[in-house]
């Protein structure tokens, strides 16, 4: 308890000194984007760097669906990003998936942070289907998610579970693989 209080005080002292430091003009002019913006851009890029089975042969009026399950972190952003974009001629649509509904008709399934506790059953519901599963919580690639987008210290880290993708007949191109940490499912 005592220790906790000291810690608390120390944090506050740090805050005050940071506040004082902030009176100096900030110099760093980083190229910054919001997390949802960046993740939207990645989801779009996955459509180009992942090969779905039979993608080219299906009728072009069938949509290419990105499903979002759980608390929607994107708002309208994702819809705006993919609007009027296509994958092999298929228009990309974004679908919000209700809890309990299956995402097995999607080509990409984004599993929001809020569904972390529900991950296994979600993965089970799409098992064997050519669905690229994407999550955003630590350790989820090792739990069987194919792509994990993590924000650590202000930058994005990608983990790919290649074996899971192959099992679903998805081929992830090397351009994407080389940027990611390759992870296997923990037994």
């Amino acid at each position: 308890m005592k220790h906790g209080q000291n810690n608390f005080l120390r944090r506050w002292l740090m805050l005050i000194s940071l506040a004082l430091a902030s009176c100096l003009p900030a110099t760093a002019e980083d190229q910054t984007v919001s997390e949802s913006q960046l993740k939207s851009a990645f989801l779009y890029n996955f459509t180009k760097f992942v090969e779905w089975p039979n993608a080219a042969s299906e009728a072009t009026n069938a949509p290419f669906t990105i499903g979002v399950v759980g608390d929607d972190v994107f708002g309208r952003r994702l819809d705006e990003v993919v609007r009027s974009e296509t994958v092999h001629g298929h228009p990309i649509v974004v679908q919000r998936i209700k809890r309990g509904d299956s995402g097995s008709d999607c080509q990409i399934l984004f599993i929001s942070r809020s569904e972390n506790g529900n991950l296994e059953s979600l993965l089970k519901s799409v098992a064997g289907r050519p669905v690229l599963t994407v999550a955003e919580t630590e350790g989820s690639a090792a739990r069987g998610v194919m792509v994990n987008l993590l924000v650590l210290k202000g930058s994005l880290k990608m983990e790919i579970n290649r074996a899971e993708a192959q099992r679903a007949q998805l081929e992830i191109r090397s351009d994407l693989l080389k940027l990611a940490k390759i992870v296997t499912t923990a037994k």
Binding site: R11, D30, S34, E35, S40, Y44, G75, V81, G117, G154
Partner: protein, 694 residues
């Protein structure tokens, strides 16, 4: 309290079209404030980047929308849905406590006094509050009946608190501040949600919501809720006899029939019954007693809004609503209907200017049942308000220096034309900091009560032989004019680090013609009793000044600390002619100092633990000011500690336990004003809740 991480997820720029509200205007300031950044273009530029380039991007913890807020030349705080849930607040006014510069005093179980930058009162004059673009300001007493205003808190997107006048865009009565309560669009509240809770306060809080889609472009939700509160404790001991219950239901439907068009239809109905001991004055024999009574209120509203987006910078919106209520108290019965129409158009003029302009019409119809004790001169009336406004944002130096000029011109049936101009200048030297300054003029227009009414306040018993029994009467006055304010504000907002944001604001508010009372003796009722008429006049002028500092620090991804400090001084004077009859001193009051500290910690991904500590300084001046009111004295300063523990057992089930005012048995926050009801204390309370969704 500006939270970062959560907002980044909840306030994407394109949500603008969804969350629309009259705060389109606010958004206008926001989006214009950020110069030439076009969100769509940014997104599409991102798509052209290589994977390597994307990987090297820095992620901000604030969204574009929030960056825009951070560039706004106004003192704005955003309370997110997450903040509200985690604070354990069970009603709207308690959620306002999270923002700096706002003082919330709970008078009793069902009455709140909410003030922004001072001048607080039970009836919250000078504060305009909107729920999804619908004004909840009652023109009867220049007030908001907070107990009648509710939303399903889980379906709330955020609360935007603007300190300082918002009159250029929102018009009269956006005097000391504006609060926008914004609910989520229907597509974000899909599925079934059941909440059941109980505790010492509120005794019962339960709600059900169902959201679904009707085709590809149409989403809806319906909800119902029931809340019940226990009696507070009277300051004198015993029960304050102020328990109450409320039930409410409503819906929202959002449709996007074709690209660029959005249509929203929403509505609510409610009924509440609140126990309240009402003062009753009897002339023979002279005296005053308090009688237990029930305040019963029923109301409903329906609102439709159509938004047409022409381009990233051009938008037209048309909104219309009906709002009605009926309330019955032994001494006050009123039926009120309001119809409101609002049109706004925003477009770009040349390379550097963005214009938003529009107009509106409001019709207030009311029927007041006069009683012996309270009478309106015009018991049945119909009043119109017309307004038009224009605002021009000039990007003097693109993305760096912006000047916003605008004014509202309004006509009301009491005081005629009112002009509310404002000028705001914002300098954004780097993307992470903004310095701004503004000058604006605002008015608070007279209420129906202030313009013509008579209310018997109390009968003071005789003290023989010298003093006869005395009847105190409060009278409105058709010469009562608008209160005016010229506000000078400055602010500095900075994000020195990706995880830390700071917001500093200072202001001087210069008032003229604030409400006071002029006392006159009327001996015509002697020998039975003497009458003292207190007439409402514009007798107070002077300044208030103060500052607010707010900081948010995302210590880790799982731990956020926020703190704010508000300081306020009042220097208000009675005009010499107004004090000739021995009138009252400054009518309104608020604490000089308030401090809030909050810690939001995710103990595990499934367990949240929140602590909130508040200090509210003591102040004097609240209370009815009547000679027989023993509670007009000082409200003592207090500390209050709130805590909440929530456990998400699985994705469908959340259990939470919240405690409020844990440091003491009970404390007084605000004295009843105007209607001198029982002075009550806010008790320590514990509340448990089960939320089930699927």
């Amino acid at each position: 309290m500006k939270t970062q991480q959560k907002n980044a997820f909840q306030c994407g720029p394109n949500r603008r079209r969804h969350t629309f509200t009259l705060a389109l205007a606010l958004l206008t300031i926001c989006r214009l404030a950020h110069g030439t950044n076009s969100t769509n273009r940014d997104d599409h530029e991102l798509l052209k980047l290589s994977l390597e380039q994307l990987m090297s991007m820095k992620v901000t913890s604030v969204s574009k929308k929030e960056e825009k807020l951070s560039g706004t030349a106004a003192a704005i705080s955003v309370i997110t849905a997450d903040d509200i849930q985690r604070s354990g607040a069970n009603n709207i006014p308690d959620a306002f406590r999270l923002a700096p510069g706002v003082d919330v005093g709970r008078v009793d179980a069902h009455t709140w006094a909410v003030g922004v930058r001072g001048l607080n009162d039970t009836f919250s004059p000078g504060l305009l509050t909107l729920i999804d673009g619908r004004s909840i300001y009652s023109p009867l007493f220049s007030s908001t009946f907070w107990m009648a205003q509710d939303v399903m808190l889980e379906d709330l997107s955020r609360i935007e608190v603007v300190r300082g006048p918002g009159s250029t865009l929102w018009g009269a009565n956006a005097f000391n501040g504006v609060i926008n309560i914004v609910s989520k669009p229907a597509d974000e509240t899909q599925g079934l949600l059941v909440n059941a809770g109980g505790g010492s306060q509120p005794a019962v809080a339960s709600s059900v919501r169902w959201g679904d889609k009707l085709g590809d472009n149409t989403f809806y939700r319906i909800y119902g809720k029931y809340d019940q509160w226990n009696d507070f404790e009277a300051v004198n001991g015993g029960s304050a006899n102020d328990r109450w219950w409320k039930m409410q239901g409503g819906f929202r439907l959002d449709q996007k029939p074709v690209a660029g068009n959005e249509f929203t239809l929403q509505g609510d109905v409610y009924h509440l019954e609140a126990n309240q001991d009402m003062p009753q004055v009897s002339l023979s024999p002279p005296g005053r007693q308090t009688t237990p009574a029930v305040w019963s209120q029923t109301g409903g509203n329906i609102l439709g809004r159509w938004t047409r987006t022409f381009s990233d910078r051009a938008e037209l919106s048309v909104q219309a609503y009906y709002d009605g209520e009926r309330f019955e108290v032994p001494i006050i019965n009123e039926t009120r209907h309001a119809i409101d129409l609002d049109i706004r158009h925003q477009f770009q003029l040349g390379a550097r200017q963005e214009i938003v302009w529009g107009g509106g019409y409001r019709l207030n119809m009311s029927a007041f049942d006069n009683t012996e004790q309270v009478r309106m001169l015009e018991s049945s009336q119909s009043k119109s308000v017309f307004n038009t406004f224009v605002q021009d944002q000039i990007n003097l130096v693109p993305e760096r220096l912006r000047l916003t000029l605008g004014s509202k011109l309004e006509h009301n049936d009491y005081t005629g034309f009112e002009v509310e101009p404002g000028a705001r200048l914002a300098w954004t030297p780097t993307e992470r900091q903004t310095v701004w300054a503004s000058v604006s003029r605002a008015v608070r227009t007279p209420s129906q009560f202030e313009q013509g009414s008579r209310m018997e306040l109390t009968m003071l018993p005789s003290s023989p032989p010298a003093t006869p029994a005395t009847l105190l009467v409060l009278e409105g006055n058709d010469r009562f004019n608008s209160e005016t304010l010229i506000a000078y504000e400055i602010g500095y907002r900075v994000q020195p680090h990706a995880r830390l944001s700071l917001d500093l604001n200072a202001f001087v508010n210069s008032y003229d013609g604030l409400r006071s009372k002029l006392n006159q003796l009327d001996p015509s009722t002697l020998p039975a009793y003497l009458t003292v008429n207190s007439t409402l006049v514009n007798g107070i002028s002077g300044e208030t000044y103060g500052a607010e500092i707010a900081a948010t620090w995302q210590v880790r991804d799982t731990w956020r600390l926020s703190a704010n400090y508000s300081w306020l001084e009042e220097n208000l004077r009675l005009a010499p002619e107004a004090s000739s009859g021995g009138a009252q001193t400054a009518r309104l009051s608020a604490p000089e100092q308030q401090v809030m500290l909050r810690s939001s910690l995710n103990l595990t991904p499934r367990v949240d633990f929140d602590l909130g500590l508040r200090f509210v300084g003591g102040f004097s001046g609240s209370g009815s000011g009547l000679p027989d009111d023993t509670f007009s004295s000082k409200v003592e300063s207090y500390f209050s500690l709130d805590a909440r523990l929530a456990w998400r057992v699985n994705p469908n089930l959340e259990l939470s336990l919240a405690g409020q005012n844990l440091l003491e048995e009970a404390h007084r926050e605000f004295n009843p004003t105007f209607l001198s009801t029982v002075a009550a204390q806010v008790p320590r309370s514990v509340f448990g809740k089960v939320s089930w969704r699927f």
